[in-house]
């Protein structure tokens, strides 16, 4: 049982990456417009995030260094700063959006305007970071986030034609009425969502917080290979549900309540209850993940002490950064900017920052001076290098595609 509970760092990290507020809506939108024809992107993304999260967690377990430590060390002070600014922008925008996302999920249940909940949600997110022990935090929100598995149940109950689904997923084609640039824009958005940099910041720093060492490499791998595929599965299940319900009717998805509708149709009130609990837990979990990641990254870049596992007065600057980020995030959402739009943009920006984050991880995980026997295998290096090439292409294509398609319209 104790062993089973040790996998929730991976689960929470993946939920924050794959089914946070922006991704919940993006997956649903993709399902309704493109059916299963983009499912392959999720698969490519899951393999990529597994590969690099495993490396970052392994480096953290062997050396006790979080990812941004490596970024600065290998990229130097200038390029490291460029990456810090880019990834902090992404992480901060996502944090702000999640604060709105939790509030939107509560609005679904209460019909009270979400803006009223934003200050309360921001306080609770800060309070959990401030007081709740790391392991309790990851277990509580990881476990509750699993309520989203109800999407897989709903998909099954909606009774898809499995043969045609597999055919569509394995023979991807751009659906009628959609242009190639839009198709590729959403491919990049899904890929960027799967590989958002804050997942490795959070995962590697969480490994340090939990005190993992060389002996825990097996647990580290189980976390990765269980958590991220689960995240990918949820993401495909959501797209599958909206594909079956909305695509035949030609309905566009852009609101959270539409994401929940297929489950309500297939699994009734109980299903809907699960969805709302899952929405709240996943967005709250993502807020914790991004809030902590801002503190982890800045502290690691500047060499400060950081983390929840040390006394707050000994990591005072770290806690100050997290607190300021949450306050600013709440203020941004209170300007009534649409939280879902904020994450959809931030996912694309995160695609731009990807190579700068993953290159240093690959270099260090491959350095025997650092890693001793736990250095990368040849296969890992080959895959890692191939993915770096892919990440570079994606990062170059992201902004031009966003401009060309007017962000996927």
């Amino acid at each position: 049982m104790k062993r089973l509970l040790q996998v929730f760092l991976g689960v929470l990290t993946a939920i924050g990456g794959f089914v946070d507020i922006g991704d919940l809506v993006a997956n649903a939108l993709v399902g309704a417009r493109f059916g299963m024809s983009l499912a392959w992107v999720v698969l490519v993304g899951v393999v990529g995030i597994c590969l690099f999260a495993e490396m970052s967690g392994r480096v953290a377990a062997v050396t006790g260094r979080g990812t941004f430590d490596l970024v600065r060390e290998r990229l130097g002070v200038r390029a490291g700063l460029l990456n810090l600014v880019a990834s902090m922008l992404v992480t901060f925008l996502t944090l702000a959006a999640e604060l709105g996302g939790v509030a939107l999920a509560i609005e679904l249940a209460t019909s009270v305007n979400y803006l009223l909940f934003v200050p309360l949600v921001a306080f609770l997110v800060w309070f959990v970071i401030w007081r709740m022990p790391f392991e309790h935090m990851e277990r509580a929100f990881g476990l509750l986030g699993l309520a989203l598995v109800v999407f897989a149940v709903a998909f099954w109950k909606l009774g898809p034609d499995w043969g045609s689904m597999l055919h569509q997923a394995s023979h991807p084609a751009v659906p009628d009425g959609e242009g190639h640039p839009t198709y590729w824009y959403y491919a990049i958005a899904l890929f960027g969502a799967a590989m958002t940099p804050y997942e490795v910041f959070f995962f590697s720093s969480g490994a340090v917080e939990e005190g993992w060492t060389k002996k825990d490499l097996m647990i580290e791998r189980i976390n990765v290979y269980l958590g991220f595929p689960l995240g990918g599965l949820l993401s495909i299940a959501i797209a599958g549900c909206t594909w079956l319900v909305f695509m035949p009717a030609g309905v566009e998805v852009d609101h959270l309540d539409q994401v929940a509708l297929p489950v309500a149709l297939a699994a009734g009130k109980v299903g809907l209850a699960f969805v709302i609990v899952g929405f709240v837990a996943a967005t709250f979990g993502a807020a914790l993940e991004t809030g902590l990641s801002t503190g982890y990254s800045i502290a690691q870049y500047l060499g400060w002490s950081w983390g929840k596992s040390v006394a707050p007065v000994r990591a005072a600057r770290f806690h100050a950064v997290v607190l300021v980020a949450i306050v600013l995030g709440a203020m941004l959402i209170l300007t009534t900017v649409d939280p879902i739009m904020v994450t959809e943009y931030s996912i694309v920006f995160s695609a731009v920052a990807l190579p700068l984050t993953y290159f240093p991880i690959l270099v260090v995980a491959n350095d025997p001076g650092y890693m001793g026997e736990a250095v990368n295998s040849r296969l890992t290096n080959a895959l890692g290098t191939a993915y770096l090439g892919l990440l570079t292409v994606v990062s170059l294509a992201a902004i031009p595609l966003m401009v060309a398609t007017k962000a996927g319209q």
């Binding site: 002070v77 490291g80 060499g303 005072a316 100050a320 650092y370």
Partner: protein, 123 residues
């Protein structure tokens, strides 16, 4: 540690420095080199970063550091204090002795130490 040949950029610059109690001191922001090319000391602090950043950004950082911290010099750690060079650099002094904790103290005094629960022990 005397006489080891190291690639400066790869093995020293930007590495994490840990004090004798296991607390982070900072990163190696710059190094001090004597005439014959031996490293004499590691430098830690925004003043040292400003020099390496260069350009407008460096000037801007140097300006704000002067404004906020007066004309202070970066923290200087002589190489004979280093006890280990690995994935991090270990120093045989505490960060208080090194004087590399002023900003941490400020964040504690003015903000974190005043929030209820701020002075509790770690987990």
């Amino acid at each position: 540690m005397a006489g080891r040949v190291l690639d400066l950029a790869l093995h020293l610059l930007d590495r994490q420095i840990i004090d004798t109690d296991g607390n982070p001191v900072g990163n190696v922001d710059d190094v001090e080199i004597d005439e014959s090319g031996y490293v004499e000391a590691l430098l830690v602090g925004p003043q040292a970063v400003a020099g390496r950043l260069g350009g407008r950004l460096g000037e801007w950082l140097a300006f704000w550091t002067r404004v906020l911290q007066g004309g202070t010099e970066p923290t200087r750690i002589p190489v004979d204090l280093l006890t280990d060079l690995g994935s991090h650099i270990t120093v045989a002094r505490s960060r208080t002795e090194l004087g590399a904790h002023r900003n941490e103290d400020r964040a504690r005094e003015y903000l974190i130490g005043r929030i209820p629960g701020g002075r509790r022990e770690g987990e």
